[in-house]
């Protein structure tokens, strides 16, 4: 029986936003831990460390997230780990996010003027101290706008988890659409929800970027 769109459907969609947020948060948290490791390895002076990291970044950036999701999901399941969709999606997005965030942050660290490093060296700080006390606090300010911008990407990318059956916003939309066939209304609504989630973040990122650019203008 085909019913019409009711409040019940609406609340189902609103509830599923929570899972979109959970997955985004998980992906961002795991991804930033991984991204920090990628950053450290990428700027290391040791060749055996930065070379493989460069290859890792290039590989992950060259493969669509959808394929990564499939590889993690099927790959782990054939080895006998029947993972819940949330874990599989979180892992795949961690890999993806870590490569991009690592690359973004590397750009910010490398944008720090060379004398900062040299001055820290003159003060006989160790490399880790230099990073922790001198470079990262300054690079953090620079990295905030692109990181928030990437957060928008992460939220949008969680829609892909619907493919492996994780019930988040897009999947909820599909489920409702399968029961009452009104795709135009439902997917517009789903899009509107994503917009509500992402737009404030984009605006925030843009305004921060403008503030940073004041000195350059």
């Amino acid at each position: 029986m085909i019913g019409s769109f009711s409040w019940q459907h609406f609340f189902y969609l609103v509830q599923s936003i929570w899972w979109t947020l959970v997955l985004s948060g998980l992906a961002f948290l795991l991804g930033s831990i991984g991204g920090f490791a990628v950053l450290l390895a990428r700027i290391s002076p040791r060749r055996w460390l930065w070379m493989p990291t460069l290859i890792y970044i290039e590989c992950v950036q060259g493969i669509p997230l959808l394929i990564l999701l499939f590889i993690v999901y099927y790959g782990l399941s054939v080895y006998g780990f029947a993972l819940p969709a949330l874990v599989a999606a979180g892992l795949a997005m961690m890999v993806y996010t870590s490569a991009y965030l690592g690359d973004i942050w590397r750009g910010c660290v490398e944008a720090m003027p060379r004398p900062q490093w040299e001055a820290a060296e003159c003060l006989s700080l160790t490399r880790w101290q230099t990073l922790r006390l001198v470079i990262i606090p300054q690079a953090l300010r620079l990295s905030l706008p692109p990181t928030v911008g990437f957060m928008v990407q992460v939220i949008k990318m969680t829609s892909l988890a619907s493919v492996i059956g994780f019930i988040e916003l897009t999947r909820a939309g599909q489920i409702i659409n399968n029961s009452i066939f009104q795709p135009f209304l439902i997917f517009s609504l789903v899009g509107a929800f994503y917009f509500v989630l992402c737009y404030p973040l984009s605006r925030w990122s843009q305004s921060m970027e403008k503030k940073l650019n004041v000195s350059n203008r």
Binding site: I67, V78, T170, F184
Partner: protein, 256 residues
Amino acid sequence: MDFSLNFAPLAPYWPVFLLGAWLTLKMTTVAIIVGVAVGTLIAFLKRSNHRWISQACSVYIEAVRNTPFLVQIFLLYFGLASLGIHMPTFAAAVLAMIINIAAYAAEIIRAGLESVPRGQIEAAECLGLSRWRIAWHVMLQPSIERVYPALTSQFLLMMQASAMASQISAEELTAIANTVQSDTFRSLETYIVVACMYLALSLLVKLLAWGCGEYLFKRRRVIRRATMEAARRRVPSTSPYQPKTAAKAANSGSTS
């Protein structure tokens, strides 16, 4: 549980994989070319003096940039079908990609246009160039050249986003992978192969974009050739910035 990777059952499917890669490449190329053209138009429209036009452009750009591509595809394919507009999956996927990339390209190109110094446009006006020639020679060409790296990385992301078109079962690499894996039950191997193909494709796109950049931006080529020429000419002569050779030259000068 014992499991080992076995790629042998996939061997007979290689023409199918290649076909999929070709379809993905074709789809991406069409979407990029049309999308950048539309995006350029929108970037100029956004700068127009009519408030309505420029606001409509911003609404379009923000709406596309803040919603997932997957939802856009669904809206375009299922949504329009429910309103009575049916189109083949391939056309729907390409259309969705054009709409998506046009918004991103518009934003990137707008940033480029804004970086053109005001004085250059005024100078061109003083020289009596027509509006179209100012737009083309003074504004668009240099700004595209400046934002070309950003555009290229957007193209790469678009190529990867085309994998989502498999969700409306448009024929491309990922959709073909889905059929192959349901034929052979070798899901992991199939997706590993496809991942490698996407890697190769993104290398190809990078290479193509670089080649196009070399071909299109004549200024860049000329400048590079000139610097190389200058560097070659400078090597035999001694410059004051090379203290050792300068000192040697001075020494030899004094002794002879």
